[in-house]
């Protein structure tokens, strides 16, 4: 006997779950898209160049963004918090 699929209800709990999923995917997505850097977030990037006359290697710093591990870890923590809140919201929902 197949149970009938329950239609998706746009409840607070489901909203929180969707937000948790979006945060989780967004955090990991940004981290992966900017190079999966295993250090902290960088907001400027360095390119080493060489001065032809003196032979000096020098860093040229330019604005840029590389997400560090705190981005996926932070968004994962926030996603877990939202998921837990969604469970609490489920319990407070009056039974139909």
């Amino acid at each position: 006997m197949l149970s009938r699929a329950v239609p998706f209800a746009w409840t607070l709990a489901n909203t929180l779950r969707a937000a948790a999923l979006a945060l989780l995917l967004g955090g990991f997505g940004v981290w992966l898209a900017t190079g999966a850097h295993l250090g902290f977030t960088q907001t400027s990037l360095v390119t080493i160049k060489r001065d032809e006359v003196t032979g000096i290697d020098y860093p040229e710093r330019r604005p840029g963004f590389v997400a560090g591990v705190e981005i996926p870890l932070g968004t994962a923590a926030a996603a877990i918090a939202l998921a837990l809140l969604s469970l609490a919201a489920d319990r407070r929902r009056p039974a139909a």
Partner: protein, 207 residues
């Protein structure tokens, strides 16, 4: 009369030689923004690396007598930066370099030892006084001096400007605790040893 005529060119040649051998004073103010110091500290997640470019100072160098080299190099601490903005704020803040109250790091060369010359490159151990965050310590640093005669015009893209360049390179390490920078603190977060790599060029214009 004839004797004088013979002596005059010799005298002029001698004067020319002595003028050539005179010590040159190189100004390390850098119009191209190439002079730099790079620093690195070990940390659990990744090494903390950064750069400083606000370098000035002067060095008196005589290619014929490199052991007599003297000079002072200054680094503007506000120019020190790292890629992470929060770390950069901490670096410049009162607990670490306190750049508001200590705007400069200086190294003053006092004497050279173990001087070796190979072509236009002189290597030596330079003893001097390093001042960081108001604390001065005597240190010895291995330095290479590369003398580039008549290269100033090429560097500033103006062949009419005559002068020499002097390139200094040094790699050495200091202990932050020696300079009162979080001495004995946060050793689990960031190492006490700071690796430094200095690459700078100075110019001695000729009129």
């Amino acid at each position: 009369m004839n004797t004088h005529l013979v002596r005059l060119p010799l005298l002029l040649a001698a004067l020319g030689l002595s003028a050539q051998a005179a010590p040159l004073t190189f100004d390390f103010k850098d119009p191209k923004g190439v002079n730099n110091v790079q620093f690195s500290l070990d940390a659990p997640l990744e090494s903390i690396t950064g750069t400083g470019t606000g370098i000035s100072g002067s060095v008196t160098f005589d290619p014929a007598q490199p052991a007599a080299t003297k000079g002072k190099i200054t680094l503007d601490t506000k120019s020190l930066t790292v890629g992470n903005p929060m770390m950069a704020d901490h670096l410049r803040g009162g607990n670490w370099l306190d750049v508001a109250n200590h705007p400069a790091i200086t190294f003053e060369a006092v004497s050279l030892s173990n001087v070796r010359t190979q072509g236009n490159v002189v290597t030596a151990d330079v003893a001097g006084k390093l001042t960081v965050k108001g604390v001065t310590k005597d240190i010895k640093v291995p330095v290479s001096f590369t003398h580039l005669p008549d290269k100033l015009g090429a560097r500033v893209n103006d062949p009419k400007i005559k002068g020499d360049l002097l390139v200094l390179r040094a790699n050495f390490a200091i202990n932050r605790a020696d300079f009162g920078i979080q001495a004995g603190k946060n050793t689990d977060k960031v190492a006490e040893t700071i690796q430094l790599s200095l690459s700078i060029a100075g110019a001695a214009p000729k009129s």
